[in-house]
Amino acid sequence: MKLSVAEALRKAIYDEMKRDSNVFCIGEDIAIQGGFGGAFTVTLGLEKEFRDRMIDTPVSEIGIFGYACGAAIMGMRPIADVQYGDFLLCAMDQIINQIAKLRYMSGGKIKVPVVMRAPVGVTGRGAQHSQCLEPYFLGCPGIKIVAPSTAYDACGLLRAAVRDDDPVLMFEHKLLYGSKGMRQETGAFDASSEIPDEDYIVPIGKGIIRRPGKDITIVASLLMMHFSMMAAEILEKEGISCEVIDPRTLWPIDIDLILDSVKKTGRIAIVEESPKQHGIGAEIGVQISERIVDYLIAPVTRIAAPNTPAPFSPVLEKIYIPQVERIVSTVKKVLNYQI
């Protein structure tokens, strides 16, 4: 059946809770009768079947992640949820100092299988509700980070995350949850997929080539993946063949997939909705430089947000987010580079 990202996530949570009685959800507004199933409807209605395992919390992010951490250590499989990814920052001690480090500092004696779900994306809400926070967490060993751009991947990655014995942080994009009904909002993008009935997972750590090409490799996640696909379409008409890679997992990133592609194309652009400074593009760029620099026929290029907070003004916001046109024009520049 065809499901939106929000519906696919809901299906994954439902299936996992059905499969394993240790799985439970914890977060703000997730299971209030007459409420909205979390800020983006993902958990809507789940309380009807799993009242005891849908834990509504006070507005207490330290509490949410701390409780999830403790429960996970004792054998539960919590899915902890924040309304906006920005609120993860309230719980940084629990996420970075506790969840990510407890296994290591115990000498590998304990497991902390927490799933953390966080909506991101620059979406008309100003600086404190519109951040793309991936880089903040990419510098933290001990957690795995996934970022599904389609409903199929959202469902498969969430199942994989729940079954994974390590902490997994899932970034979801606010404009990809759905484009209809309650999820209708400016810029909302249809990322729905046909979801098979049978159980499947999308393995953590495996990227995917969304569109094969030979002239340049474009790496992009979440909404930027969709923008890159649109850009590739336009560029194709102009005779430029783009290979679009969706890493799906940001850490551990499927670097071999990217390196193999760059060996073939000799060029790469990384598209990021987060500020350019110290982002995932920087990491990928240096890895290419360290390992396959001889294959490059043009400099590694980043197409990212400026090094500022997300502005509110729709005019500025449009400049802030890498738009399809910016991707197209930057790729052309890379193609025109002469040694």
């Binding site: 701390g66 403790g70 004792m74 296994r103 500092m105 497991k111 390590d166």
Partner: protein, 501 residues
């Protein structure tokens, strides 16, 4: 054999230390841990303790001179023969000390009528209100319903108000009957083990033989032992940056603790944790959480898991009064109360968050009063009396286990040592330190057990000797255990994947 006593590294920055004056003389016999001289760094003035036992044969460093780290300052004669003779003499000495105390009625008679009663101490209104308030709370055994006046707490008030909670000898006897002598002696041994362990590793640090830093538990032994003695095997505790006492009380083998302090693979965290992360979940203790207040929501989550899984287990969070000013405390306790989970939040109120007195940061008298803000049961115990702690902890744990919800249990206690290594505690008044030294939980409990004939002096000295030997073995085990291999750095992070390089 002659040993050189060298100037240790004091603090992170200073390698120039001024020797103010010698406290000992040439020809004098000193014991390990005894103050040798007064020294001054750019930050503090402190007494330098001897890292050797023996006879001072030469004082090399001159008073009022600058000494460099590592420079030899004195020579001590301490041949193995002399050492063992010294040890035997020590053991005998302990007997002598005990028999001296037997004749000292004041030592054995720990009936609290001997302690100045609350009436004898000038009481300000805060204390009076506290008394009235406390009486109500304790009689009903339940929730605090109102808070005391807003006046800040002075240390003196803390000292005075704690008298309110002191058990009478009769009450102590009742608890002793309940727990039985075997358990009572075990509790004593645990407390003594903690104390000796801490005293010994303090010296190892000062000698520079142990890496890292330490936060010690000297003075608070009754808290960890009292609470852990009331637990069942499947219960879980979580500790702080000051975890040695909790770990020993919970039964983590001291070999594994010692090896962890040395960063060895045989340590309870394979050398990946260190002093501030001692613990072993399989033995009922989460690796200690060294972020102040950090363990509180985690313990809440563990208790939530017990409830979701319908298990008859209790989770205990230990923390200091400083942690109750953290957001994690507020969020963690509020959620615990809302979810009615089987947790006990044990606040060891030792009056100081590092060097900052609680009176500067907390406007209420008792931390336990904070429970009422969450609709949670609050209670206060005497953290210098292991039987008192046991009684209060047992009650809170029973309540939690029976599904009646969490408690905030405040234990009034005191750190009879520095916050971390080499802290000379210059922020504490002499009067205050003396007062609390007089309430040393081990001395008091020992006196009680002797007076009740649970222990005799022979047995006592045997216990102490055995503990020293056990610690000797643990030190040897720690020192001789293998270091991790370089490639171990990549192990133990993820369950099912290699660390990407």
């Amino acid at each position: 054999m002659m040993s050189e006593i060298k100037m240790p590294q004091l603090g992170q920055t200073s390698d120039e230390i001024r020797l103010i004056k010698w406290i000992v003389k040439e020809g004098q016999e000193v014991k390990r841990g005894q103050a040798l001289c007064e020294v001054e760094t750019d930050k503090v003035t402190m007494e330098l303790e001897s890292v050797e036992s023996g006879i001072i044969t030469k004082l090399i460093a001159q008073p009022d001179s600058q000494i460099k780290t590592g420079e030899v300052i004195a020579i001590v004669e301490n041949s193995m023969k002399a050492m063992s003779a010294n040890r035997e003499k020590n053991a005998e000495g302990k007997n002598v000390v005990s028999s001296k105390h037997t004749n000292d009625s004041e030592f054995l008679n720990i009936d609290d009528r001997k302690v100045p009663s609350i009436e004898q101490i000038p009481i300000n209104t805060t204390v009076k209100t506290e008394l009235k308030f406390k009486k109500n709370a304790l009689n009903k055994n339940e929730k605090f319903t109102k808070s005391t006046p807003e006046k800040g707490i002075s240390n003196k008030n803390i000292l005075e108000t704690t008298k309110v909670f002191i058990l009478t000898t009769k009450e102590k006897k009742k608890i002793l009957d309940e727990i039985g002598t075997q358990k009572a002696v075990q509790m004593y041994m645990k407390m003594t083990l903690i104390r000796s362990f801490e005293e010994r590793i303090k010296l190892l640090f000062l000698e520079g033989k142990m890496p890292g830093t330490i936060h010690q538990y000297i003075g608070q032994e009754a808290c960890a032992v009292g609470v852990c003695s009331a637990l069942e095997q499947n219960d879980i505790i979580a500790s702080t940056h000051r975890p040695h006492g909790h770990a020993i009380a919970r039964g983590i083998p001291i070999n594994e603790i010692m090896a962890e302090l040395y960063g060895k693979t045989t340590g309870c965290c394979k050398g990946k944790g260190g002093s501030m992360h001692i613990g072993d979940l399989s033995k009922g203790m989460l690796p200690a959480i060294a972020i102040v207040g950090g363990n509180i929501p985690i313990v809440g989550g563990m208790a939530m898991a017990f409830k979701l899984k319908n298990q008859s287990r209790v989770a205990i969070s230990f923390f200091g009064e400083g942690a109750t000013n953290e957001g994690a405390f507020h969020e963690g306790l509020n959620m615990a109360a809302v979810y009615n989970i089987p947790a006990v939040f044990v606040c060891e109120n030792n009056s100081y968050a590092a060097s900052t007195p609680a009176s500067l940061t907390i406007k209420i008298q008792n931390i336990a009063e904070r429970a009422c803000a969450y609709g949670m049961r609050g209670d206060i115990g005497d953290g210098m009396d292991v039987l008192n702690v046991y009684q209060h902890a047992k009650k809170a744990i029973d309540i939690a286990r029976s599904g009646q919800g969490p408690s905030l249990l405040e234990l009034k206690t005191f750190r009879l040592c520095g916050h971390s290594r080499r802290d000379p505690c210059n922020y504490m008044s002499k009067e205050e330190r003396e007062y609390w030294k007089g309430k040393d939980p081990i001395t008091l409990y020992e006196g009680f057990l002797l007076s009740e004939s649970v222990l005799d002096k022979d047995f006592l000295s045997k216990i102490k000797n055995n503990i020293e030997l056990e610690i000797d073995k643990a030190i040897e085990f720690g020192q001789n255990s293998p270091d991790p291999k370089p490639e171990d750095i990549f192990k133990d992070l993820y369950v099912d994947m290699e660390v990407p390089r």
